[in-house]
């Protein structure tokens, strides 16, 4: 897994490449929560190059979403591949998470 971070209009963007599984998810969690500690409360996670996600990855996104909501921040996910999106849907996470089709749509949600 590879994570590329950037800031755009006060929004912290994480581009995640590769696999988000039990081994790699802690690294994303560390980066996201590091950003939250530095007061980045609005973030986009770009899944365009994410090939795989398991419940360990879902858990990080859920924990982030809960934490940001308490701090009046927000997280938007974007550009998911079909298989990855299906995992979010089966888990029922699409009901309460903001999921945008493309990065431009995600940026407009703030």
């Amino acid at each position: 897994m590879e994570i590329i971070e950037k800031k755009q209009n006060e929004i912290h963007i994480f581009k995640v490449k590769g696999r988000l599984d039990s081994n790699t998810s802690p690294e994303l969690e560390k980066k996201i929560f590091g950003a939250i500690e530095s007061k980045s409360l609005n973030m986009i996670v770009d899944f365009e190059d994410l090939d795989y996600i398991s419940s360990a990855g879902l858990r990080v996104i859920l924990k982030t979403s809960k934490t940001l909501k308490r701090s009046e921040g927000s997280i938007v996910l974007c550009s998911m591949q079909d298989y990855v999106k299906e995992v979010f849907e089966i888990a029922g996470f699409d009901v309460f998470l903001s999921i945008a089709t493309k990065m431009n749509d995600a940026l407009e949600m703030f």
């Binding site: 039990s22 081994n23 795989y52 398991s54 360990a56 858990r59 995992v87 888990a91 309460f96």
Partner: protein, 138 residues
């Protein structure tokens, strides 16, 4: 298609996930398994393997988890055998999925995903072993 089988064992450490992934990819490439099916097998085996590794043992000893994957006439059969505490994932209660972000708890999410992707699943406790047999149409 003639029956093809691979068997391997993994130790009860999360780092073994890499070995598991390599075995699945090698098997899938050899037998031309479609990409979506490969994705689902990775997911199912990861969830079951991490469950066993994280919750299956009450000691600090090394244990082996035995896996076999076979393919015959478009049916894939996966068997997982471990000597952890008795655990039947089929009896695991479905988590409350239609909930708001504040009260959504994660328990059982991995098993819920497994049950979605695998339609046929048999659990057996044999001696000190959990044996789980999954069947999936390719």
């Amino acid at each position: 298609m003639q029956k093809q089988t691979i068997t391997f064992k993994l130790s009860n450490r999360l780092s073994e996930l890499k070995t598991l992934n390599k075995k699945i990819d090698k098997f899938a490439a050899q037998f031309g398994i479609p990409n979506k099916c490969i994705f689902e097998i990775h997911l199912v085996l990861e969830e079951l393997f991490t469950n066993i590794t994280c919750y299956g043992y009450r000691d600090d000893k090394d244990h082996w988890i035995h896996v076999s994957i076979s393919c015959e006439n478009d049916i894939m059969t996966i068997q997982i055998e471990d000597d952890g505490i008795p655990f039947n994932p089929l009896e695991f209660e479905k988590p409350n999925l239609k909930c708001s972000v504040e009260d959504c708890e994660i328990g059982g999410l991995g098993i819920h995903l497994v049950k979605h992707y695998i339609k046929e699943c048999v659990y057996e406790r044999r001696g000190n072993k959990n044996i789980l047999i999954l069947k999936k149409t390719i």
